[in-house]
């Protein structure tokens, strides 16, 4: 129990273990994400692929976590589960005190809409819509009225310094700008977690730094950020690094010990 654990957005190993082990019980609201024995298997033409083999993970509000792992480690599957795009075969997944692993399609859609902000490697903006309209989309599905939507979308674009590009289409924006539009879109509905999947995978190193700074700022203002990446130097921006290997958590440590190991 070093004093640094009292820092914003850092949970201790002991606290996490306590939350994870209390199977079946509703975790405290403060724990945004709790997974208990999360399993996901795929049937690939008769062959069962066990992508996740029982993942226990707890993430507290305000944490900035990177999830790493080589390809085939199950990190994409894990991200899909965390992002409520997929449901597990076994295990519990609690998101903001809700047991979302039992949710059906429409409830999952609502959770994706309200609780999760996605940032993708390929940006995934609608090509024919303006930046503003792209940012508005989650609010459209949340049922927010047109005037309020515009205002909130503009606010989100201002936060990523793109207010002057609101009427531009994605193909009129640079890669970094597109990713910032995507971040604005992810944040516009004030989600519990910001889920980024290789957010810098399609960007050059200068732009990557720029995007990482945006994440940094968000994390320091209290936004929970979960970032999936396979690049250690990108993962090193997070305060906590979880490494997956063969469908299990191989390590879960503070950034300092992670960077020390890598010699960064």
């Amino acid at each position: 129990m070093s004093p640094s654990t009292e820092e914003i957005g850092l949970s201790t190993t002991a606290e996490r273990a306590a939350v994870v082990q209390a199977a079946g019980s509703t975790p405290d609201k403060d724990w945004v994400i709790v997974t208990r024995g999360l399993k996901r298997e795929y049937d690939m033409g008769g062959e069962i692929v066990r992508a996740l083999r029982g993942v226990d993970l707890a993430i507290r509000r305000n944490e900035y976590v990177a999830i790493m792992g080589p390809s085939g480690s199950g990190k994409s599957t894990f991200m899909n589960l965390i992002g409520c795009l997929d449901t597990p075969n076994a295990g519990e997944y609690w998101l903001s005190g809700e047991l979302v692993s039992t949710f059906k399609d429409d409830e999952l859609a609502r959770v994706r809409n309200k609780e999760i902000g996605f940032v993708f490697q390929t940006f995934n903006l609608l090509p024919r819509a303006s930046a503003l309209h792209n940012v508005e989309l989650p609010l459209v599905y949340a049922g927010v009225g047109s005037a309020e939507r515009k205002e909130r979308a503009m606010e989100a674009l201002t936060k990523v310094q793109l207010a002057d590009r609101a009427s531009h289409r994605p193909n009129e924006l640079s890669g970094g700008q597109r990713q910032r539009v995507a971040i604005a879109r992810a944040l516009v509905n004030r989600p519990s977690i910001l889920l980024a999947d290789e957010p810098t995978g399609n960007l050059d190193s200068t732009t990557s730094e720029e995007i990482m700074k945006v994440f940094e700022t968000l994390a320091s203002t209290g936004q929970t950020v979960i970032m999936v990446t396979h690049e250690p130097d990108i993962a090193a921006h997070a305060r906590r690094v979880v490494v997956l290997r063969d469908g299990l958590i191989a390590s879960d440590e503070r950034k300092e010990s992670f960077t020390a190991k890598l010699g960064l």
Binding site: L85, V140, S146
Partner: protein, 412 residues
């Protein structure tokens, strides 16, 4: 997503792909266009037949006593042979029918056919020669604008006088005043005593080519060489009195012809209803054939829309994935594509309606066919358009709604 926003989104999608959307719409457009045009023309004809034709050609509250029916579609060979075997109608029969008519019924013997009329001033023209009695003018509400109609005395005396329509005046007399001049009908000389008011035409058939003479003059012999009568028209003051007249006529004619009960009449008593019935049949046929083709157009249109929507779903799989990741529920995606398909086809229907109205207008201006727009047909076309879109959109939209977001997002 709110309905109007979905429509706006759909319109935007259509606007972005103008040419593709146009070809998608073509089937529905053409289908609706022909539907509107056909319905308008049929409606126009039926209005015309009901309002003008029946009164002008046949007369209000009239029946015609004749050897065989005039309006008789689909006559079989057997029927035709039966008609030929029927006894002819002579003056005595006409007098008998006339004698049993209720008070107030007017009647006129009518023999008519097309004959050539000629004057010394112009080449001969074909005219509608009507050999009749003085009461004919009254029954048909014919107005003589200059000169006069012939009297019953002239009819009994067999005076060779004639009342002609304006077309005949124009064609045979040019600038001359026809009154008092001679015109030959089928070679027989007549003196013009009156000119009829201009009446216009029915289905391109001019009513101003009538040449009316007493039935006691030689033209009758040209029309009915055997000396029998073609028909007698009877008009009652009301429909009921006319019906009484028909029944009396039937009774007395069956009597003189010794028809046993159960045997069919061997003469015809025809009202305007027979004509209207004939036109009703015609109208039904026209509606059936006239709408069968557009219906095929609409089916083809629906298939085109379904195809294009399937392509759109495939093309926009990633968009669907993005929308789902951002919280779109199945029904949001379903309604988005359904609304897109129906917006597309309603747009097609709207263009089709405009083109159909235009086509009806052109047809009524360039041909004798009248056209009247039936308001229900526009409403029906729009509903049909939306229906086609929804039917065509259901399958593609449900495919879009069922897409797995992960797979959809992964697609390039």
């Amino acid at each position: 997503m709110p309905f109007f926003e979905s429509v706006a989104l759909a319109l935007n999608t259509i606007r972005v792909q103008k040419l593709k959307s146009f070809f998608t719409l073509l089937g529905v457009m053409i289908g609706v266009m022909f539907l509107i045009a056909v319905v308008s023309i049929v409606q126009g004809m039926s209005n015309y037949v009901e309002n003008d034709f029946a009164a002008k050609i046949i007369g209000v509250n009239t029946f015609t006593f004749r050897r065989r029916p005039n309006f008789n579609p689909n006559t079989t060979d057997d029927q035709w042979r039966e008609f030929q075997r029927r006894p002819r109608i002579y003056a005595a029969d006409a007098e008998l029918v006339r004698s049993v008519q209720p008070v107030g019924n007017k009647s006129a013997i009518v023999n008519q056919t097309f004959l050539y009329a000629s004057t010394q001033y112009a080449r001969p023209r074909q005219v509608q020669a009507i050999a009749t009695e003085a009461s004919y003018f009254d029954i048909k509400k014919l107005v003589v604008t200059s000169g006069r109609a012939f009297s019953s005395q002239e009819v009994s005396a067999g005076a060779k006088v004639i009342v002609i329509g304006t077309d005949i005046v124009d064609n045979l007399f040019g600038e001359l005043d026809p009154l008092g001049r001679e015109v030959r009908i089928g070679g027989m000389p007549y003196t013009v005593i009156g000119i009829l008011e201009k009446q216009g035409s029915v289905f391109g058939f001019s009513l101003d080519r009538q040449a009316i003479v007493p039935y006691t003059t030689p033209v009758s012999r040209l029309i009915q060489p055997r000396g029998d009568l073609q028909s007698m028209i009877v008009q009652g003051p009301s429909r009921e009195v006319m019906q009484d007249g028909i029944e009396n006529a039937r009774e007395v004619m069956r009597g003189v012809r010794h028809l046993a009960p159960g045997k069919v009449d061997n003469f015809a008593l025809e009202t305007e209803d027979s004509a209207l019935e004939f036109f009703d049949g015609l109208k039904k046929q026209m509606i059936v054939f006239g709408t069968a083709l557009p219906a095929i157009g609409l089916v083809v249109g629906a298939m085109v829309i379904m195809n294009i929507m399937l392509v759109a779903v495939a093309e926009r799989t990633r968009e669907i994935g993005i929308r789902k990741a951002l919280g779109a529920r199945r029904r949001d995606i379903l309604s988005q594509f359904l609304i897109e398909a129906s917006t597309l086809s309603v747009l097609g229907a709207a263009i089709g309606i405009a083109l159909g109205l235009l086509a009806a207008k052109i047809v009524s201006m360039t041909t004798p066919l009248p056209a009247a727009v039936a308001p229900w047909s526009i409403g029906m076309a729009l509903i049909l358009g939306a229906g086609v879109g929804i039917v065509a959109g259901v399958y593609p939209a449900s495919r879009a709604a069922r897409l797995d977001p992960i797979a959809a997002l992964r697609q390039e």
